[in-house]
């Protein structure tokens, strides 16, 4: 409610209130205003709330509140003293708890760390065991493969183990005399192509006295054969160049011959055309002088039927320079365009044709 009503307004308020509540008095209104002011003060509400709580919780009436308050204050002091001791104990206990919790956490962390390390070591060991197993298997496979390869090689070389042992002994023997097996093999290869190497060697020594001279003689022969070979190669190249030139000339001559043959055929064709059509040139010039030409034929069915048996009795064919209406032979109007001349001239059937002669 607004507490700033004037005196007159307050009277109005009370009068209006009495319409619904005839017993409403000014005292009630003032009480309300006072209550409003007090409600605005939070301390008042707290005090009233405290008294209500005191009565509700302790059963102490409002009139005994002061004595009770003193007693409660004394109890409060005593309790505060006890509370301080308890608080110190609580603090000490809390510190001890914190320390224990810290140790416990540290221990847990160490255990966790050790567990993780153990797991890592186990995993490492398992991995290495697997690798070792795989390595063993692989080594076993390779050993078997090597044995198989050795067996195959022996089989392929057709040697036995005894022969290999003998070869080893032979090698040792050769090396003990200052030679090697490779040198011996080369010497063998040197004399292999000669069926009678010993005799050939003795004859050569007899002819040339020394091996060096014999070798020089062989080199000289080889050189003279090489010179002859080079000369023959040069001769062969020169001949090849001449053959290429002749081949080209032949191609040119063949081209000229083909052209001449074509000209001859064309001239022959022209001669034939001339002989065949020279006689009708007047007719052609006459037709070319027409403005238009229509090729027509009579389609009289009787003539068509007769034409089957006698070609001269077939329907008449005729050329006109104007569109015709009647057959000049039978006088009937059954005319159609003659397709053959149009097809021969490659001209649309029925279109008027203007004959154009060349120069």
């Amino acid at each position: 409610m607004n507490c700033e009503f004037t005196v007159d307004e307050i009277r109005e308020v009370i009068r209006a209130a009495r319409i619904f509540c005839p017993g409403f008095s000014e005292t009630q209104y003032q009480n309300l205003m006072t209550l409003e002011k007090r409600l605005a003060d939070s301390g008042y509400l707290e005090a009233v709330h405290g008294l209500v709580l005191l009565e509700k919780e302790k059963g102490i009436l409002c009139t005994e509140a002061l004595d009770a308050c003193k007693q409660l204050l004394r109890e409060k002091e005593q309790l505060e003293g006890e509370s301080a001791d308890l608080r110190q104990k609580l603090l000490a206990q809390q510190n001890a708890n914190r320390e224990a919790e810290h140790r416990f956490r540290q221990l847990n962390e160490d255990i966790e760390k050790a567990r993780q390390e153990l797991q890592a070591v186990r995993a490492e060991r398992q991995r290495e065991e697997k690798e070792l197993l795989a390595f063993r298997k692989k080594a076993e496979r390779e050993r078997q493969q090597i044995d198989e390869n050795v067996a195959q090689c022996r089989e392929k070389a057709k040697v036995t183990e005894e022969q290999i042992i003998n070869a080893g002994q032979l090698n040792a023997e050769v090396e003990s005399r200052g030679f090697s097996l490779r040198l011996l093999l080369d010497l063998c290869k040197e004399f292999a192509g000669h069926e009678n190497a010993r005799e050939e060697l003795s004859r050569a020594l007899m002819e040339r006295r020394t091996i060096s001279e014999y070798v020089a003689h062989l080199r000289e022969q080889a050189n003279s054969q090489k010179v002859d070979l080079d000369r023959l190669k040069a001769e062969r190249d020169r001949r090849q160049v001449e053959i290429n030139g002749l081949e080209q000339a032949r191609h040119q001559m063949e081209g000229i011959l083909a052209e001449l043959q074509a000209n001859l055929a064309e001239q022959e064709e022209l001669r034939s055309f001339y002989r065949r059509y020279w006689g009708v040139r007047g007719l052609m010039q006459c037709l070319a002088s027409w403005n238009q030409i229509f090729f027509l034929r009579c389609n009289n069915p009787l003539s068509a039927l007769a034409g089957v048996f006698d070609r001269s009795a077939a329907g008449a064919h005729f050329w006109m320079d104007k569109p015709a209406t009647r057959c000049p032979h039978c006088g009937l109007t059954m005319l159609i365009y003659d397709e053959k001349p149009y097809q021969a001239l490659n001209w649309p059937v029925g279109d008027p044709l203007r004959l154009q002669l060349g120069e």
Partner: protein, 273 residues
């Protein structure tokens, strides 16, 4: 519609201040309009506003005017307290149009402000018992006679059925959670202040109706009806009783008790004889 030169309003606050000034209630708080805005139909308002602006502009500028406008409809309330049958608060609301208009004629261009009341006023009648129920958030004690999306009609004993917009009731309920009734009425300016004691008194009466000590009839406030009833009980005819009360009325005061008033009426009757 009145046409003022220049643009006098740029926002709703300024438009509301202009409308209140035009209506002669310049001390009303603009926030009051929020409560009353739901009274009118928005579509109807828009059509009417555009029509009014067009009519005013065409009336003022004859040279083929073309215009663009921005407008606001401001509800302006008039408060009345009545205690004839049952104490009640009446809120009569007129809608004022405030429009800032840019006009272009064939020769010139103008900026003007169109202002004026439009449409019929709307009246809300709120019996005090109803207001008390809103204050206590206890509308459930009234029976609902009719309800629509926008309005509800309640049955109030001893008064006509109360029809109010739902939006208005909801907003008023919210306002009373934050403000006292006298604070709310102070938003209506001087007119709110003048009816505040009566409204607050009525509400106090209703609040203490069941708790205050009953007072004897003789000590109850004096009203003409009670005086006539008392005289009738004293074997005066009704017409005669009303005549006696009328004669004594110059000396009767509203604060008189029934006993005092009766004594005064009888004294006047004795003098008259």
């Amino acid at each position: 519609m009145k046409i003022l030169q220049g643009k006098r309003a740029a926002n709703f606050q300024q438009a509301a201040a202009l409308a209140f000034q035009e209506a002669g209630v310049a001390d009303i708080s603009a926030g009051v309009t929020d409560l009353l805005v739901s009274l009118a139909d928005a579509t109807k308002l828009r059509i009417e506003a555009e029509k009014s602006i067009g009519a005013a502009i065409r009336d003022k500028y004859s040279a083929k005017p073309r215009w663009q406008s921005k407008w606001w409809c401001i509800p302006v309330p008039i408060l009345t307290y009545e205690a004839r049958d049952i104490p009640q608060l009446k809120i009569e609301t007129k809608t004022y149009l405030v429009a800032v208009v840019d006009v272009e004629t064939t020769d010139e261009s103008y900026s003007v402000t169109v202002i004026g009341a439009m449409g019929k006023p709307e009246t809300l009648v709120i019996p005090m018992v109803f207001l008390h129920a809103i204050l206590n958030d206890d509308l459930g004690r009234f029976g609902i006679l009719a309800k629509s999306g926008s309005h509800t009609t309640w049955e109030v004993l001893g008064a006509k059925a109360v029809q109010l917009p739902n939006d208005f009731v909801n907003k008023l309920t919210e306002i009373f959670k934050r403000k006292s009734v006298s604070m709310w009425l102070s938003d209506f300016g001087r007119q709110g202040g003048s009816v505040a004691p009566l409204v607050v008194g009525s509400l106090l009466g209703l609040q203490f109706q069941g708790t205050a000590q009953p007072i004897p009839l003789a000590q109850q406030p004096c009203t003409p009806e009670k005086l006539v009833a008392a005289l009738e009980a004293m074997a005066y005819a009704t017409q005669e009783a009303w005549e006696m009360v009328r004669r004594a009325s110059p000396d009767l005061r509203a604060e008189h008790t029934l006993e005092e008033g009766l004594r005064m009426v009888l004294q006047h009757a004795a003098k008259g004889e």
